[in-house]
Symmetry: none
Subunit: 246 residues, 2 copies
């Protein structure tokens, strides 16, 4: 199978037709075909399709979502791009590490993986970045660090392709330990957060009128840990046991 088929490139609120077409071309040169558009400011129209030149098939087949959550619902690994320095205290990857991790995950099974790019000017919001297990940044010239969207897509997709070529040429066995870990889908994790919030409202740890930062902080903690399936089962079991006693 082609591992690259498991990799989604997600563009959030892209606002320029030319960027969409150039990103599609960049993807296709590296063998990636699965494009997801979240709330595109411009819809993939005939102009973006013609600007995509030989990669117009990528634009035509693109899936459109109204939120990042929907786009990554079936993904077990989500990596977000950020030009910002490591200010969020989040697990950060170099582009090469990002490529390796994506291919490692995509080669394990039919697990979907997402690499998420933000808006041309302002990137991803903090809230969006907090939905990602890892952040990746291209270590650019600090005096002129603004790679445009398509250039960033090109570099990161290049590293994904290099990792895939390394993997298939070396034919190394997948790392046994990582291989056997089952990670839940994003939608299952979202259900856990909803359950957690409901329970904390019942215990009155969260005040419905002043919920504050509690849920955001808990999400950050669990995202950082990258919950495994059996752990998610334990956490859901704990909540259910609390619910029953209340």
């Amino acid at each position: 199978m082609n591992y690259l088929d498991n990799v989604k490139i997600v563009l959030v609120e892209t606002s320029h037709t030319g960027n969409m077409g150039s990103a599609a071309r960049a993807m296709k040169t590296m063998g990636l075909t699965h494009l997801c558009l979240v709330n595109p400011v411009i819809k993939p129209d005939s102009q973006s399709i013609s600007l995509a030149a030989g990669a117009s098939d990528i634009i035509k087949q693109a899936q459109i979502f109204s939120s990042l959550e929907e786009a990554i619902a079936d993904c077990r690994l989500v990596i977000g791009t950020s030009a910002r320095p490591r200010s969020l205290q989040w697990p950060n990857l170099t582009p090469k590490e990002c490529g390796d991790k994506i291919i490692q995950e995509a080669s394990n099974s039919d697990a979907k993986v997402a690499l998420v790019f933000g808006r041309e000017r302002v990137g991803l919001t903090n809230e969006e970045l907090q939905k990602c297990h890892y952040h990746v940044g291209i270590p650019a010239n600090p005096a002129y660090s603004s790679l445009n969207l398509a250039m960033s897509v090109q570099v990161l997709c290049y590293e994904i392709r290099m990792s895939m070529l390394n993997l298939s040429s070396v034919l190394t066995e997948p790392e046994a330990d990582i291989d056997s870990i089952e990670f839940p889908k994003d939608e299952d994790i979202e259900r856990f957060y909803q359950h957690l919030e409901q329970t904390l409202l019942k215990t009155e740890f969260i005040n419905a009128n002043h919920p504050g930062q509690i849920m955001g902080r808990l999400r950050r903690l669990f995202t950082r840990a990258r919950i495994e399936q059996h752990e998610l089962n334990i956490l859901r079991g704990i909540l259910t046991s609390v619910d029953k006693k209340l």
Copy 2:
């Protein structure tokens, strides 16, 4: 000294204004500034300068030559880009090897190094390729291998920058922000685990007679995340809120 100052990016007979500007931007994002134009079909005019956006200084300072030979006259290492398969039986480099070799050479002395890009449609001629010590190709999707000029400049300059950063090990500098995070003492974390276990016994999620692996698995989850102090406070608060309700 900055090794990148020894590296020349040479564009041969570039024919589109936009490509020249985009190539200049790609160079600058990776910290490269020395652009050489061999017989440019379009001269670096006000339009190409404006398309270069923040990288117009690169275009303004570009040196113009009437032959490749003149452009590389002062270079000890010349690498030519080629999209063709390895048909010329010439020493071929991967992009990463190309970056390593360029930085190795550029860091040795004040030896100038050139990385040469060909015409948009037809690349470098055989004669030009034979003036190069090595050839480098980006291993693209065989079904759609046409990276445009600026994209190729971006990827290869990216690898040059990565090699430089590896050499100066800037990439391994400590994460600045990690210092500002407050992590709890181990004894406080142990108290949290004891509290958690007590609460789970009360909710009967853990059976006192058959505790099983639950606590071990939860410890593993939280250890992986490396709990921060404010998160530990939240988790203790949740347990207290459950205890009160029971």
